[in-house]
Amino acid sequence: MPKRYQDLVAEAKKEVPEISAEEVCQKVLRSDDFVLLDVRDPEEFRAGHIQGALSISRGMLEFRVREALPSPEKPIVVYCAAGSRSLLAGQVLKVMGYVDVHSMAGGIRRWRDLGYPTLKEKQMNPEQLERYSRQILLPQVGERGQQKLLAAKVLLVGVGGLGSPAATYLAAAGVGRLGIVDSDQVDLTNLQRQILHFSNDIGRPKTESAKETIKALNPDISVTTYAERLDPSNVNRIIEDYDLILDGADNFPTKYLLNDACYFASKSLIYGSIFQFEGHATVFHRGQGPCYRCLFPVPPPAGLVPT
């Protein structure tokens, strides 16, 4: 005899133990030793979810859960709107080998009735969801990761050989706010590698042509330009607004200055340099590892130019 929805839920209830919203709330406040999994649709998740919850909709569960939750021993609490979908999802998780699965009774409705807090996410518009869909699909990115990218502020020091591909991919990925520092004008010899600038940009400030290319690629991105050379008097003012600094400078004084300024301001610095056929890259952050001066205490002799 075909089973009705109620029968399926009743069966799931026998297999998947329930946990009260009150108990979940205590656990959420106390421990990281379990995963809170929201199996509602993305729109429902965005409209309000429990802080720290992972979002995998019921429809995508079988496809995405293994990558997002590689350890089958880790306890999982599943919730949905009212507690039925989470039971069905819990059943699937058990079949897939997850050992410790609970379903939150009454779902987020019960959670809200108890006056517990939920988080709302700023909605992405349909065009954004489509534009970034290929990376949103990655469980490590998801809509929440895309929101982080859209909210991020990255400063590019130099929009030459290193800064051009960096700005292009950051803008394409939807990194919401880019700052670009460069005091140079576009020169014919730049065009062989500085792919943000085109032939008809020759003679224009690099900040302007860079901004134009970035905006054409992704109008979502806000671009702030600094057509100045970094020096001790302006560096703090310029870097302070940014979460992360990308070093695309073509000279050692700027590289050392940037290292020192980022160290004092505790900003993460992503370093890159190139010479002939060799390229270097690393990351510096105060207190989490060495700095540029640990690596190269004094600049190399003049003539060894980084870009």
Partner: protein, 83 residues
Amino acid sequence: MLGVLPGIIGVIQTTEAIKWILGIGNSLLGRLLIYDALEMSFREVKFSANPDCPLCGTHPTISGLEAKPGLEVIICSPASPGV
């Protein structure tokens, strides 16, 4: 230089930036990644904080941007290979 070289390094830096924003993966903190385009090889040098570093060492001599000796003077110093 070949235009693709800064392209590759710039894209590696960008990968690190995106990972940093997303909070995923292992970063290059403490590792210098070295790419050789002719050999088409990547190698990695682990390095740790230098206790004698004039900036972040145990007895720093650089205490602010203004107090730093003139960079143009340093850059002409004959000392040290490096990059």
